[in-house]
């Protein structure tokens, strides 16, 4: 019975990673660059929600919408500040240049540090107090297993986000242009796809989910603080790599695998080993499947 509870605990962890991994993977797919500031977008979403509820006792859906909006706005600003300036070189050589990719990577890292330190200076490094009525920790008993309303909401949001994104990608014009840019940016540009607009849309979509995830997790764990994006951000990154870098369902499945393995490992070997497990899984995956579990045929690593 304990094992079932651990699987439930692990799914909680896993869906948290999944919510972040979805946005991260979406942005990587389009730009081919890791967005290191994604963890901070997640943090900003959580801060926006908690700051708002401290000002006025708003209902949860409003808070979640606010976190989405804050995430989307942060994503838009992030794209403007860290990514667009480095996309002004339109020639083919620059677009394939490794140096430019690395610069983009570092510009997002730089911005993530600025945001984190700014939050730290403004709010202090400590956890923000969260009004108990908005905490998503009400137990829900299901036979021998205890779930929470927060967990159910996180699951619903992750699955919803995944389905919504699949719909956007497969059924809308924006989705088509996102897929076109992801598969061949130069080609898309030559056929008249507005690259800038597509990239902005990708950032807004991915970051809105990031912001939403931040608030959900903050309320589920009871913890919102400037450094909160780091640890789940790393796990989401691992999930993305294991999933094959560009596969959304792959990233989600790997995120769940990571979460459940962490919880089960805690039970079997002890809490101290929990953090080792994701890295071990990553190593084994990359050793056996160099392109990730769902990497497809495209040569990447």
């Amino acid at each position: 019975m304990d094992l079932l509870q651990q699987v439930a605990n692990g799914l909680g962890l896993g869906f948290v990673y999944a919510l972040i991994a979805i946005g991260l993977t979406l942005i990587f797919g389009v730009l081919n660059v890791v967005n290191f500031a994604h963890g901070e977008v997640y943090t900003l979403g959580a801060f926006a929600g908690v700051a708002l509820v401290t000002l006025a006792p708003l209902p949860l859906p409003v808070l979640l919408a606010a976190a989405c909006l804050a995430g989307a706005a942060a994503g838009w600003a992030l794209e403007r500040a860290a990514f667009r300036p480095l996309r002004r070189f339109r020639d083919e050589a620059s677009q394939k240049s490794r140096l430019l990719r690395e610069s983009t990577l570092l510009s997002s890292l730089a911005l993530s540090i600025v945001v984190k330190e700014a939050l730290d200076l403004w709010f202090g490094g400590a956890m923000l107090p969260i009004p108990p009525q908005v905490l998503l920790q009400s137990p829900i008993r299901l036979g021998p297993v205890v779930l929470t309303d927060g967990l159910l909401l996180i699951v619903a949001c992750s699955v919803g986000a995944l389905l919504f994104l699949q719909w956007v990608l497969r059924r809308t014009a924006t989705g088509l242009s996102i897929r076109a840019v992801a598969s061949n940016r130069l080609g898309a540009q030559h056929t008249g796809v507005d690259i800038d607009r597509t990239v902005v849309m990708t950032f807004v979509l991915g970051s809105a989910l990031g912001g939403l995830g931040g608030l959900l997790v903050g309320l589920y764990d009871g913890s919102v603080f400037p450094g909160m994006g780091f640890n789940p951000g790393v796990k989401a990154f691992i999930a993305m790599v294991m999933g094959g870098l560009t596969s959304l369902p792959g990233a989600v499945l790997c995120a769940l695998l990571l979460g459940v393995s962490e919880a089960v490992a805690t039970d079997l070997v002890g809490s101290g080993w929990k953090e080792v497990v994701p890295y071990l899984l990553l190593l084994v995956t990359l050793w056996l499947f160099p392109r990730g579990l769902f990497g497809g045929a495209k040569e990447r690593v």
Binding site: D2, G125, M127, T148, N231
Partner: protein
């Protein structure tokens, strides 16, 4: 308005202090190394505020032997490597006569190696790892060790009828020391330790660990955590429906524990070295002074840093107007019956450990109250 005035005054004195360059040689300098940024910055802030309050109070009364005291701040970010770099900086500055810090045992102990070689007295207000003061004769601490606390808490739990306990602590020098000392003493008193769980600092989801602990059906869980993790653990334990009593050492004590944990932390029994609602005038003076200056409640670590600064300044005073680092060290060693806000403190001349009283507290109705 008052805050604005304070800020202006603060800015003005800072500018004046910077402008008065040559006067600096007349100052006495004590160093403070603490995590002022990063994930432990909330504790570093308490350190800085507490120590600054004491230094300012002494300066307002004319300083030490007519010389102003300056608190030199360095940010260790909670990183042992930074701690070593700061220690080197302080050691190379001949004006620095003593150092307060660091916060965590890991950083304090890394820096201690440098202070030991350089011969600069180091006084930590918080690091309670037993090995710290064994590094050299230059290390002092103004907090009870885990060895004292482990003995005291183990006995308390046994007297409270706890037969079996699980320990949940941070996986660092502090948490290891809490776990070892509590478990050893608890077992020596015929208590049963059903689990020893060490969690990586920064963990925010403790459900898996709590589920594992619950399987051993302990009467109580003993926490070796700080207030943030403590609040989260108790919230998540209530959510998982764990029916168990919680105990902790003084490390968890902070007004913010209740602010963060709400109803979930009700019933937690803990030791403390500081009780702000105490009726003692010295404590009340400190609490009101701290509130007025910083607009916040002082936690244990602010009080600890306040007393550490007081003890160090007292040693400076006794060492005389032209004190050397060695003289300051010798005077620190002779600290006996220092009346601070964390109780009467004496240093043991051989071990350089502090002898201080423990207070038993319990969280009830959203307040810390003296435990029966």
């Amino acid at each position: 308005m008052r805050k604005l005035l304070q800020a202006c005054l603060w800015a003005a004195t800072t500018v004046a202090a910077l402008a008065a360059g040559p006067a600096r040689s007349q100052e006495l300098v004590i160093g403070l190394q603490a995590p002022l940024t990063g994930s432990q910055s909330q504790y570093g802030e308490l350190f800085r505020n507490g120590a600054q309050l004491m230094v300012d109070a002494v300066n307002a009364q004319g300083g030490v032997h007519g010389r102003k005291v300056r608190l030199a701040l360095e940010d260790s970010k909670g990183d042992p490597k930074e701690g070593v770099a700061i220690a080197q900086k302080f050691a190379e500055d001949p004006r620095v006569l003593g150092v307060i810090g660091d916060f965590g045992s890991s950083v304090s102990m890394a820096a201690a190696e440098v202070y030991a070689r350089a011969g600069l007295p180091q006084l930590t207000p918080s690091s309670s790892h037993p090995d710290f003061t064994r590094i050299s004769k230059w290390q002092f601490r103004n907090i009870f060790t885990q060895a004292h606390e482990g003995r005291f808490t183990a006995q308390w739990l046994r007297e409270a009828g706890v037969r079996s306990a699980a320990v949940l602590a941070l996986q660092n020098d502090f948490g290891q020391a809490v776990t070892d000392n509590f478990a050893r003493n608890f077992e020596a008193l015929q208590g049963k330790v059903v689990a020893r769980e060490l969690v990586v600092p920064g963990t925010r989801d403790f459900r898996a660990t709590l589920t594992r602990i619950a399987r051993g059906k302990p009467d109580a869980i003993f926490l070796g955590l700080f207030y943030e993790e403590g609040a989260l653990v108790m919230q998540q334990a209530r959510q998982l429906g764990l029916d168990v009593r919680f105990f902790s050492g003084a490390g968890i004590y902070s007004p913010r524990l209740i602010e963060l944990g709400g109803k979930a932390v009700d019933g937690l029994q803990l030791t403390s070295g500081f009780y702000p609602a105490s009726t003692e005038p010295r404590v009340q003076g400190f609490v009101t002074g701290y509130r007025a200056r910083f607009g916040a409640e002082p936690g244990l670590y602010a009080a600890q840093a306040y007393d550490a600064a007081g003890i160090l300044l007292e040693a400076l005073r006794r060492a005389g107007g032209a004190a050397t680092r060695a003289q300051v060290r010798d005077e620190l060693e002779k600290t006996r019956g220092y009346e601070g806000v964390t109780g009467r403190t004496s240093f043991d001349a051989q071990t350089r450990e502090a002898d201080k009283p423990f207070i038993k507290l319990v969280v009830r109705d959203g307040r810390f109250q003296p435990a029966p």
